[in-house]
Symmetry: C2
């Protein structure tokens, strides 16, 4: 299976790492230091993440030039603080940057690093995330994620699900789109990858959005591979 | 030492890998198959490499838009074949591409991977090469070079020694130029890196150009570190 595929690229937020727990873990103490322990840390993480797609849409639409995700996350952080009645100016740049870098310190799902280490034996493995190079590099360094390269939106200068995000990733690897497979926990991402000619692998992450998750619990199309987790993906791909 | 340095970036051709032997190893059989065993494989490698800087100069000067090194290498290969009286059209695209990818299959100097593995414990390590992403990724995969990220000219969209090649590399890592150190076997590369504000480390590779090498045998400025090889560099940086 997948004889023609040379590289696997991965969605990261949600697919490789648990962003909600990682952000809540750092937002909780941050809010407590501000005397705002009344704000639920997981709800704060959700509110921060809710501003992710609209911020990228400014760039996808062409209304704004390409801007790396660290900058968008920082702007969104100020907005979500203001929405909770907290003035960012009172916090100070260093503390805001520190919390913003919580996105660099997210933990992988339990089996992810072991699964990636197996998959790396046969395939080039790299992130195809909307996260920027520094974010992905620092995350991998801390968590021991054994990427062969750091690819994604900043290299492609385009945010998923815009087609160039997928096509330029194949191009910089020197391979055809059909030789590249996107692994993701999100049907929408896979749909865009398939439309661009990539192979597709779905791995559900039913806890990404916490206990009440309703979307992306199952494959919504006949993706090329559907696996339980990255270990199962390695098994299905024969490595 | 180097308390402020967060990432080490490496020149690759000559500093990490032995391009001359690697190219000669594949050019020899290639030329023999063409009935041209009279051409010395090392001289062929040198002639191919001699067209490297002039090709990039077209881009640095602004006469040509950014073009990745695989493409320049391929154009240069056709030129060097023609200069030896061989018509590229007679060879076929597949065989030309195959030899062109010899640049993806260069071997590291004997201690390089072990030294990099030590350095990786403390620093982010990445190539800052004029080689493109696919070239660097395939080379690292084959040789087991444990880069944390693949950076360099294609990410910066600028060829060394142009300042943006160094400055944008620091920028994508989210660090100041002074927090980035270039490791190189070439005084000219280090001179440009220092002018851009980077820290500098010199590691001589006296066999890069074969037995008659006369340049870059010694440090020509007081670089921040001068080491015998990558193991010695790890020792001097306390890792």
């Amino acid at each position: 299976m997948f004889e023609h595929v040379k590289a696997l690229v991965f969605d990261v937020f949600g697919t490789v790492v648990d962003w909600r727990e990682g952000i809540a873990r750092e937002a909780g103490p941050f809010l407590a230091r501000l005397g705002r322990a009344d704000i639920d840390a997981h709800a704060f993480a959700d509110a921060w993440r809710a501003r992710y797609q609209p911020a990228m849409e400014e760039i996808r639409s062409g209304r704004r030039g390409f801007t790396r995700l660290d900058t968008l996350h920082r702007e969104n952080l100020e907005q979500v603080l203001q929405a909770h009645g907290i003035a960012p100016a009172q916090i100070g740049e260093a503390a805001l940057d520190e919390l913003n870098h919580a996105w660099h310190r997210l933990d992988p799902w339990p089996e992810a690093v072991a699964g990636l280490t197996r998959l790396k034996r046969r395939f080039i493995i790299a992130p195809l995330s909307n996260g920027n190079i520094a974010l992905m590099t620092n995350m991998a360094k801390r968590a021991g994620i054994p990427w062969d390269a750091i690819l994604g939106a900043e290299v492609a200068q385009a945010y998923k699900p815009d087609p160039p995000a997928y096509l330029r990733t194949a191009e910089v690897l020197g391979i055809r789109p059909a030789e590249l497979c996107l692994v993701a926990a999100h049907n929408g991402d896979l749909k865009a990858a398939r439309a661009a000619g990539l192979a597709t692998a779905f791995v559900p992450r039913p806890a990404e959005h916490g206990p009440g998750q309703r979307k992306d619990l199952e494959a919504e199309e006949a993706w090329d591979v559907v696996a339980r987790d990255f270990q199962d993906l390695a098994h299905r791909l024969g490595v």
